[in-house]
């Protein structure tokens, strides 16, 4: 499975309290990432693939793997649709 990497030329980000705030440079729109979404975003570093993320999140949050898979797939699809990540 392909490693996931952020397309860092398309956004800028900062941490604000317990959130990660991402701004898309093409539109100026903001994206707020909290909880597992923030954790997943932080794990995307160009070396881990989707299954690695599922394993890490399921362990870190003591969550059911199928539930993590469903939520993560939806989140990754949204990030890809927004042009913020890609798989190598």
């Amino acid at each position: 499975m392909a490693s996931l990497r952020k397309l860092s030329e398309r956004f800028t980000e900062t941490r604000a309290d317990d959130e990660i705030v991402v701004m898309r440079l093409d539109s100026g729109d903001f994206l707020s990432l909290q909880g597992t979404a923030a954790a997943a975003w932080s794990l995307i570093d160009g070396t881990l693939d989707r299954d690695d993320l599922v394993a890490r999140l399921a362990a870190d949050y003591s969550a059911d793997r199928p539930k993590v898979e469903a939520e993560l797939d939806e989140f990754l699809a949204e990030l890809e649709r927004m042009g913020l990540i890609a798989g190598d």
């Binding site: 800028t12 604000a16 309290d17 959130e19 705030v21 440079l25």
Partner: protein, 287 residues
Amino acid sequence: MARLAAELTMERETRVRLGSVPQRLIDTALSELSWKISADEFLLHATGEHYFYYRRGEGITVERGPGADLSEESLWLNGSVYAAIASLNGLLPIHASAVAVNGLVYAFTGSAGAGKSTLIAGLGNEGIPMFCDDTLVLDLSDPERILCLPGHKRLKLAPDSLEMIGAVRGEKVSLDVDKYYSASAAGNVQTALPIAELIFLEVASEPSIVPMAGIERYTRMQDEHYTSQLFASAQRFDRAGYFSHLARLANALRMSRFARPLDKCLFVEGVKLIADYVSAQRIPDET
């Protein structure tokens, strides 16, 4: 207390003289009630042939031609022109009125008519002095803290606010604006002070103060008021630069929402709540 370099800059740069705006600037059409700004110049076209021109290092030139409404002149000078000069000198103007208590500034922001000046007058009745009205200028040069420059000290209050507060009615603000100059009953503060909090005014049936966190602090700072637009234009921000600017503010400023009823009968209840809130805070080093 020694005055800040930023204070001296604003004092020097806001000198006014009457004269003519450079013709090259008004050769290109600039409609009434609009402005343009470059890296070191600002031009505002008020009404008629009434122009305000500022160039860094040269102060303000006011051109009074036919149709100029001189009663509006101080409003322009203390509003858009003041904010533009701040912006062109690296200082951040925000659309806010403020009080000072325990050596800290509390700034209240909201759209026109949100009740900023009325609240400052109400806090004056509670013994809390005014810091500025309508435009607050922030000095961002110190990475450790954000300092507020003492600004204009005349409140602009509508007749119903004057009556509700029991404030003294001064001269009319302008021929066309139904507001009057007034003063805070607690006086005002003339020295630069660090900002404690930026408080957004809202309307609700019950008074409340709610801290803001996360992305809300970014989205609420995306003010459409001309003060924000002037600063962004003067600084030539691209989106990444603008985001970086917001992040600096969001990380350095506490922010809250202060909701209160506008009903005259409940006005004092809201004022007392926010008065107690700001009075209870202290400079961290002093606690």
